[in-house]
Amino acid sequence: MQDNDGVLIRLENVSKSFDGEVILDHIDLEIKHNEFVTLLGPSGCGKTTTLRIIGGFVDADEGHVYFEGKKINDVPPYQRNINTVFQRYALFPHLNVYENIAFGLRLKKMSDEEIRDKVKSMLAMVNLKGFEKRSVTALSGGQQQRVAIARALVNEPRALLLDEPLSALDAKLRKDMQKELKEIQKRTGITFIFVTHDQEEALSMSDKVVVMADGRIQQIGTPVEIYNEPINAFVADFIGESNIVTGIMPRDYVVTFAGHSFQCEDAGFAPNEKVDVVVRPEDIDIVPLDQAMLTGEVTSVTFKGDYYEIIVDIDHFKWMIESTDRVNAGDIIGISIDPYEIQVMKRSEYSDTFGDYSSFSDEMDELSDPAPEEME
């Protein structure tokens, strides 16, 4: 049954357009057994469409979809050993909690005792013991979410697709559900394919993150790889806060930006190649002026609880620094960056599309956090 390399699902060269608009542009993706994979990207990046193609609800225009080594392009959803947790839960309002969960099992003509045992153990797993007779319309959002998860998992699918399942929950519940989902995934050993636009969610839950933009996969990697070694300016900007500046690599292990040459750990670029450089705000150290690599004037300081968010104007480029050191707006400060904190990236179509932090505000942050509904 299993591929030699443990691949469960493989997308090969998959493309999809709606009304002439390209949604997916030649996607290649491998998903292994027992993996928690997250498709992460802004609205319209094609992540939901990718999920729907795997689920069988959308047909790819081009390319192949393999499941356990077999091509499944023409297999209808009800014959795929895959189940989905939908964004708005999509519970059946005419059935109670028990019957919602039993729905898939009844279609398989399972005996009543078998169904009862399975539903009971599912209810226990999602912490909804004693909810059998409740009407699903009378449940809270979090409870409905649990029923939706139980309804999908009770069928023991090889893969569970989750389409922004936590987007309708409030922040606290979301955090709890993230942990719970991760727990359930570990315990059941089922492959989870999770779609979200929330990078924090993606980083904290996944074994593997697939960052998507404009219908293409930008980067695939572990959360740590994605965060520490973004492949281009888009990934660097989308995942966490980052200062992205243009630089030059005069030779290996040296990069010049903001008028200063820095030691770095990157190599393999052409001599004097133009590059994008990422430095995370928390990786910048504030140092006395005589030890400074760069100096600049503080333009704003925001208290964030466990750190200060400091905007510094260095040569008319506004850098963001996260530090526990107290500084004041108007101060001239010095900064230093360690070689391993500098990530050098190849130039891409996304170079120069992300400016500095001069126009930074929470409102701008909201705008890059798109509405959950992606496409229909």
């Binding site: 689920g55 609800f57 959803p77 009800y78 189940n83 939908f86 708005r88 059946f92 005419h94 279609l107």
Partner: protein, 275 residues
């Protein structure tokens, strides 16, 4: 308690006045006539008159005809409503207008047209005659009456069912497919139970006018048999017997109330859908 504005308090006044004048008072008259004789004295004779086998037969026939018409409407209307709801929005609008089109035509004219169609010298028989087929007896049959009921009331079955299905959350259908339903199972296990309220309003809206109709049985049945509607009409207009007529009306009304409450018992909490 929230205070109600003047407008809220009196918004229902016109309707209440209307109801009292044209529904409650006539109803009281019917009850009065039912329990009195021609001279105005109290009697139960009117009720015992209509308890005769002759009238029971008429009631039974009326119920049978309207149940048949309702079932046929449901069998034709449901698949059509389901099909329309799955069309593109633009096509849907056109299809719904087509369904409603006959309703824009006067009811009497519609029925009269049917009469012409089914006549011994009508279009159908003339057409068949071209092939040397003897004229079929289409008009003045119970089939013609039921056909006319279906023809006249079918839109009232289609519209509420269509409304419910078209408003259904498409994700539920996707979820059904995801959990292993093929198209047919999705229909029987999700769409059908969720459109129950629409079916119930459709059934009510076909059954009630069918059981009380008088013109249809008159025109299409040719007085070869009576339904409850035209029996009542004749009591008032021809026999001039308001008392028996009222008694028949009262019994019919009770019959309708009973059947409606049975239907409501099985329909959703949120009740039927009004078009």
């Amino acid at each position: 308690m929230k205070r109600r504005s003047l407008l809220q308090r009196f918004a229902a006044a016109p309707h209440i006045a209307w109801s009292v004048l044209f529904i409650i008072i006539p109803l009281l008259f019917i009850i009065y006539y039912t329990f009195t004789d021609a001279s105005g004295g109290f009697t139960l004779e009117n009720l015992s008159t209509i308890a005769s086998p002759e009238y029971l037969m008429i009631f039974l026939r009326s119920v049978m005809f309207s149940i048949l018409a309702t079932v046929i409407c449901l069998l034709i209307g449901y698949p059509l409503a389901y099909r329309i709801a799955s069309m593109k929005p633009r096509t849907q609008r056109i299809a719904i207008v087509l369904v409603m089109l006959p309703m824009w035509l006067n009811f009497l004219i519609r029925t009269y047209c049917l009469k012409i169609l089914l006549n011994d010298q009508g279009i159908i028989n003339t057409f068949l005659g071209n092939f040397g087929i003897e004229p079929l007896k289409l008009l003045n049959t119970s089939g013609a009456v039921i056909f006319a009921m279906v023809y006249n009331y079918l839109p009232y079955m289609i519209l509420p069912i269509y409304t419910v299905i078209s408003k259904m959350d498409q994700n539920l259908l996707t979820a059904a497919a995801d959990l292993g339903c093929n198209r047919f199972q999705t229909l029987t296990k999700v769409v059908l139970p969720l459109s129950f309220s629409g079916i119930m309003s459709g059934v009510t809206m076909v059954f009630v006018p069918s059981i009380s109709t008088f013109y249809i049985s008159d025109a299409m049945g040719g007085r070869t048999f009576s339904l409850i509607g035209d029996t009542i009409e004749r009591q008032f207009k021809e026999a001039d017997n308001y008392n028996v007529g009222s008694a028949l009306s009262l019994v019919l009304m009770i019959l309708i109330i009973i059947s409606m409450s049975i239907m409501n018992k099985y329909s959703d909490d949120d009740g039927g859908v009004v078009v």
